[in-house]
């Protein structure tokens, strides 16, 4: 354990964490009290900067992080109305993510914790996404099943207890969000694909084209989206060869429906099998309106309670890191000054 202020070590309530998140293209800092109450949640998004490249450029993201990080942290403390002295610990995302981007947040958080004599807590980015539900639902307690879907991740995670996770299913190839980005590019919508496909899909017929719903024989909870992505690209190619005009809204709606069907079915089936009556979603794709709607309906029909964070808590943010960090903090988890970024960090690997 680090040489930190002992007065805060045994406290379990009134804990204020300064949380920092730089795993991809958002520079974010937040102050969160007791894992559930967001005192501030500042996000500097770089999306515009990366749009011209059609995706996040790691080196550009890292450069932007170091430019903005102190401003974002200062704004988070100011908006929360607390000084660094009144903070009980520093939580920081140390993986998974882009290594260069993660390193900015990790080095900054370590230096602040070190100089201010505060405990340091490394947080898993996906565990953060899952914990966004604790912020939205003050009474939500484990166990629950959480569908995590974002640009880099598609996981079904059983949250057995605070900070105790078991991966039930995972993607075998592309993440759900990745498939959205690729399809968006193919139909000329640009980056980031998720919100753009979601918007266009509202004008299309979700049953116009029958795209495949992949099942993996020996692993019913796992996902596969690369076949679906290829099917969309093939469809577009065939239309082009036949000289047919593509109804982009129908393609977007039908593609999205295929993704949502798979995510919904797998989630409900796994929850049933595990005897879990609470289902949550997390991650950027969780802000997709069709997914929310369909999963909510399926939960209702299957006697399950559905939890979903507000859209601004689904995309990358630091408040969720403060939520996950709190439950690590009260368990006594402390990281050392040699904490490193781990780009392929596994869920529940601590």
């Amino acid at each position: 354990m680090n040489d930190t202020d002992m007065t805060t070590e045994n406290k379990k309530t009134g804990i204020r964490l300064l949380a920092i998140e730089t795993s991809c293209d958002e520079t974010a800092a937040a102050v969160v009290e007791d894992g559930r109450h967001v005192l501030s949640n500042i996000i500097y998004t770089q999306i515009k900067l990366h749009t011209v490249f059609g995706g996040v450029v790691p080196e550009i993201a890292s450069r932007k992080h170091i430019e903005k990080i102190n401003l974002v942290i200062e704004a988070a403390l100011k908006e929360a109305g607390v000084t660094l002295d009144e903070i009980d610990g520093i939580a920081v995302t140390y993986g998974p993510g882009l290594v260069g981007a993660l390193l900015v947040g990790v080095a900054e958080a370590k230096a602040i914790a070190y100089a201010a004599h505060k405990p340091l807590i490394g947080v898993h980015h996906i565990e953060g996404h899952i914990s966004a539900n604790y912020i939205e639902y003050k009474d939500l307690e484990p166990p629950f099943l959480c569908l995590v879907a974002s640009g880099g991740h598609s996981h079904l995670v059983l949250v057995k207890d605070y900070g105790v996770y078991e991966i039930i299913g995972r993607t075998r190839d592309d993440a759900a969000g990745e498939a959205f980005d690729k399809v968006a590019r193919a139909i000329g919508l640009g980056y980031p694909g998720g919100p753009k496909v979601d918007k266009l899909a509202r004008e299309g017929n979700p049953h116009a084209i029958e795209f495949p719903r992949a099942k993996i024989a020996d692993a019913p909870d796992d996902f596969s989206f690369s076949g679906l992505k290829s099917a969309v690209l093939n469809y577009l190619n065939q239309c082009q060869m036949k000289g047919e005009i593509v109804n982009k809204a129908d393609v977007a709606a039908s593609f999205q429906q295929a993704v949502v069907d798979v995510l919904t079915d797998h989630t409900i089936q796994a929850a049933d099998r595990l005897g879990i009556d609470k289902v949550a979603i997390a991650g950027g794709v969780a802000s997709n309106s069709t997914l929310r709607g369909q999963l909510e309906k399926a939960c209702l029909e299957n006697g399950k309670t559905f939890y979903h964070p507000a859209p601004d808590l689904c995309t990358d943010n630091a408040a969720m890191i403060g939520a996950a960090g709190y439950y690590e903090f009260i368990k006594g988890v402390r990281d050392g000054w040699d904490l490193n970024a781990v780009p392929n960090l596994k869920i529940g690997s601590r």
């Binding site: 490249f53 660094l84 230096a111 070190y114 904490l339």
Partner: protein, 238 residues
């Protein structure tokens, strides 16, 4: 004036605490562990060893580039975090100036540090002294090694060479450098935070401190994606 200095621009990780003209502590490691794992534990070790109260540090100096992009950001983020938490100013020391400050009392000779910048280039510059005063003769730049050798030849003064670019380009230097030259020995030929602190003192006297929030590394190079974009005649916009 007490300066905490760090350099993580290359393979070397180095931290030092200097009070005026006394080097109180310095810890330098030239080993392949990542700076993310070494830099702060090294600082902690130094601070404990000398019982340093961090609030008594006046300025935090960091080798601000050029160098390994990731290495620079680890140093800069560490300096920014320390500066923020301690409410102290930062000073950006150009990496090549910090390297050159390893040497002193060299008369009319010049120092030419070279860092391997890959893509057949070096990060380099030419430095000397006018009396006791450090002089920047050629500000740090990224260029082909032939070009800096030519500049040294044109200058016609004795050259002291150092840096991690030397083992890579020594053969070419031997072939092309026509002026008298020599190579700095092991204890003077890589980044050392003590030298960064020394150069920082000069810059602080010139009033060139900055806030922790404002500090950014100096890369001297755009990212590959940006270069490719510009090659297509477009520019990165915010």
């Amino acid at each position: 004036m007490r300066v905490l200095a760090m350099d993580s621009s290359g393979l070397v990780a180095s931290v030092a605490i200097v009070e005026d003209d006394t080097l109180i502590a310095e810890y330098t490691v030239n080993y392949k562990k990542t700076h993310s794992q070494t830099l702060l534990p090294m600082l902690d070790e130094v601070v404990k060893m000398i019982g340093q109260d961090l609030s008594e540090i006046d300025v935090i100096a960091v080798a601000a580039g050029p160098g390994s992009f990731t290495g620079l950001r680890i140093g800069s983020a560490t300096a920014k975090g320390l500066g923020f938490a301690l409410d102290k100013p930062l000073v950006s020391v150009p990496t090549l100036e910090g390297l050159a400050a390893n040497l002193y009392g060299i008369g009319d000779a010049v120092v030419c540090p070279m860092m391997d910048a890959r893509r057949k280039q070096v990060y380099t510059g030419i430095y000397g002294y006018e009396g006791e005063e450090f002089q920047v003769i050629l500000p740090q730049t990224a260029c082909p090694v032939e070009e800096i050798i030519e500049k040294c030849n044109e200058l016609g003064r004795k050259v002291i060479l150092l840096g991690d670019g030397i083992p890579v380009y020594r053969e070419m230097i031997e072939k092309r450098m026509t002026v008298e030259h020599c190579y700095a020995p092991a204890h003077l030929n890589r980044q050392r935070a003590g030298a960064v602190a020394k150069r920082a003192m000069d810059l602080i006297r010139e009033g060139r401190t900055e806030t922790a929030a404002d500090h950014v590394p100096v890369y001297l190079r755009k990212s590959q994606a940006e270069r490719e974009l510009e090659a297509k005649g477009r520019k990165l916009e915010e």
